[in-house]
Amino acid sequence: MASLVGSRVERKEDKRFLTGKGRYTADINLANQTYAIFVRSPHARAYIKKLNIDKALKSSGVVSILTGKEIADDKIGGLIAGWAIRSEDGTEMKCPGNPPLAKDNVNFVGDPVAVVIAESLAEAKEAAEKVEVDYKVLKAVTSTADAMNGDTIHEGIDKNLCFDWLLGDRQKVKEAFDKADKVISIDIINNRLIPNAMEPRACVADYNAASEEITLYTTSQNPHLSRLIMSAFGNVAPEHKLRVVAPDVGGGFGSKINVYNEDIVCSWAAKKINRAIKWVAERSESFLTDIHGRDHVTHAELAVTKDGKFLGFKNETIANLGAYARVFGTVTPTYLFGPCATGVYEIPAAYTNVKAVYTNTAPVDAYRGAGRPEATYTIERLVEKASMELGIDKTELRIKNFPTAFPFKQTLVHTVDSGDYVAGMEKAKQMADYKGFEARRKESEAKGKLRGIGVTSYFEACGIAPSAAVMSLGCGVGLWESAEVRFNPTGQVTVYTGSHSHGQSHQTTFAQIAADELGVPIENIDIVHGDTDKGTFGMGTYGSRSLAVGGIAIVNACKKIVEKGKRVTAKMLEANPEDVEFKDGEFIVSKSNKKKTIGEVAFACYLPGVRDEMKSPLPEGDEPGLKETSFYDPSNFSFPAGTHIAEVEIDPETGHVKLEKYTACDDFGRIINPMVVEGQVHGGLAQGIGQALYENAEYDETGQLMTGSYMDYTMPRADNFPEFNIGYTCTHATTNPLGVKGCGEAGAIAAPPTVMNAVIDALGGQEVTMPATAEKVWKACKNLKKSNAKAA
């Protein structure tokens, strides 16, 4: 049987997605359901003087109106930060309470203060407009850079500072800088982004008074984790009385990791009114209240020798957490950021210092790449600038500082098990025709255009496990993953995974893995996920961990099945278990023609007897049935890496940046399905290029979101991109049996510095902040013209 791992198996999920048969949360309608509309603060920062629901209660169709007072009275808990971060001085981070419905203060535009539940959506909306809230508006804090000088947002949190964190050794770095021939420094902004999943958030909460169970259908990337948080911190219901179902989910990019206010409020309220409640976000609510991403202000320095050896690295960053610290909000700018900020280079001394600040803006949390795009942007912009200032070719300078051997003990935290960065660089250069660039630059110049080329070499730490490591760094939970593999008596297989697919194609790739491990045809394998009533506890999908952690749990469970199969075959065929080999779905007794198929073994496990004989196929100590579970906790993160090269052409008259070529050469370890990986790379690149050239979440000084719709928030479209030139190098991860690394975030991590390095190259080294909009680039072109005129 040919191996399915490595082949372009068509996606099993496409039949339902392409024919409109997907079942998303908004598709779920329950008998006698009501509709919820949230009353949200129109102010970024205000004190709630009075909230009057009398008029609204009289509005037609209203079932109930609940406010922050009721939720506090019922002792329903608030939203939480999942990682505890300690400041450099040893003090613990400072987090404000974040009640699901604000009672006294609102802290960003969109912060919910009440929920209106009515018989119809129109009636709920109508009534919501009649809820009267008397606010005392306070001065908002919106700027990341100035947040520490603003008014105190949360009582007791001085300077709006959640933590002031250090990773690395300041003294060693000072010594390194003292020895440097040259110090390259840079001031950069990592612009705030809005994730914009295609499916807006939604939830449907149901209560069964007889069983006292709450069922919550919700747009989540991790239903078990949501259940745990809602139960342990939200006090909504004990875990065994709370079922969380995340059915088809239309994209998350990290924005659906969090338990949100609406999940808690609807679950709690469904029990209170003893009816089902449905809430579906409008797109404008998504813009305002989904977590946002990035938003760093950074000063970084690189100490170098004159021949281009890196000696030391400093990174001083202010990270905006928004109004509240959420699940991955505090780890994103720390342990997902700092360790990767030294990039793919051997740098003897380094530190990253992050001041995380609160502002009156939407909470900022993990968004595709989470911390690693910010890290890569910092080091790769610096390295590119170093190449300009030292006059050393940008690819040569990088190669000069690549590690020469693996495992590569990276400066701050990680030990990278495998990789070949030079091979990746050489292949990327070849794919991009790096040598031919100067000729292309001249052609552009002849047309009056400016052409630039940009390079990024990156690595990232994904998988976000082992548990002992992440918990030692402050994570509130272990980040292993589980899988359960169940045979039916007639030989088909159901794989329950704790990972969650919201676009990742698990139904296909996980089935490929199980098909190879078990020798069962792929059409006889079902992948089940997304329901806390099905399968074992799972940690969910984020941080490119599904394959490298969740996939390995499946492999391990399959291996346990095979082990049992060997024992059963041995018993049935009267052989030694050690003499039974498993290949392509058959258990073969070596040096004989005796064998059993895995289907026969499964059948025997479920029907362990024979007519007229007192005989069992099960060896002593083995129970009937064929089902195995694995909880897999890896020994390390996994470390994809690669080199990307972009070429842009700029029209100096309009400032228009045209991305002419984009080459991505990635090392993802073993690839399960190249078609799926291409899709992941394309999507990541679209979001990464989007950050560099188009996307930007902008608040005005009063805290109003200026980019609250697609009229102003530039989502990139297909016509913004060239045909992507994608290739791979492959070194297998040595830390897991499949040798896989993870591919979901690479594009979003590598693309921003790659594109910006190209833009800045075209502009003669002038700094431009992301996104490189037409006007910014036009201004830079005018400056360039002036300075060229002066030079002439």
Partner: protein
Amino acid sequence: MKDFNYHSAKDSKEASKLASSSSAFLAGGMTTIPSMKLGLATYKDLIDIKNIKKLSGIKVSGKSVTIGAATKHVEVSNSKDVKKAIPSLSSLAEGIGDPQVRNRGTIGGSIANNDPSADYPSACIALNATIHTNERKIEAAKFFKGMFETALKKGELIEAIEFQIPEKSSYQKHPNPASRYAIVGVYVAKHKGDVNVAVTGAKSCVYNDKEMSKALTGNFSSSSIDGMDLDSSEMNSDMHASADFRASLVVTQAKKAVDAC
């Protein structure tokens, strides 16, 4: 969206009769419906005019192209007659919004709405259009009064737009990267005696840039407007483009348009 009454008028007369101070005509609904959905506009009555046969269709004579008010953008962009008579008008229609918008949005709706960054108003100005309503004929130069404001009276309905066929013309726009509306759109049309340079997106309302029109009437070459320093004091300024950038883009797009003629 608040409840409203829906009417489908069979002719202009009925449509006009149904109109009141709390009504709106509905053609493609590409602005009206989203505005109502967002609560920015409320109407008691929506009077659908797209079933009025007389309002749809394209007629070309020797001197002009006349397009019915309820004609969709896709019909204008696909029309062989328009492509032949005024190719720039066809390509303008092809560049409006996205396929969904072009399949529903109408020329009359666009002009009646007079969005400061809409494309069609610039065509009306550049191509010396005459707006035919159920009551009168209005010259384009007198039709566009200000931001979202036109010479139309309550209940007055645009029936058709008659464009003068120029010798040469071109429409060039610098789109807003998010909405793809024009940050600046410039329609240059060379008629027998003179040249019109109509600009949309740059100010609160479409206008004819007299300075560039004059320069190009004198010498129809992009070099005659190259480096022109336009007054930006009345230009729009927002997060997508400052007034100065817009002023520069007007010249750049005008030059492109002349070169494309």
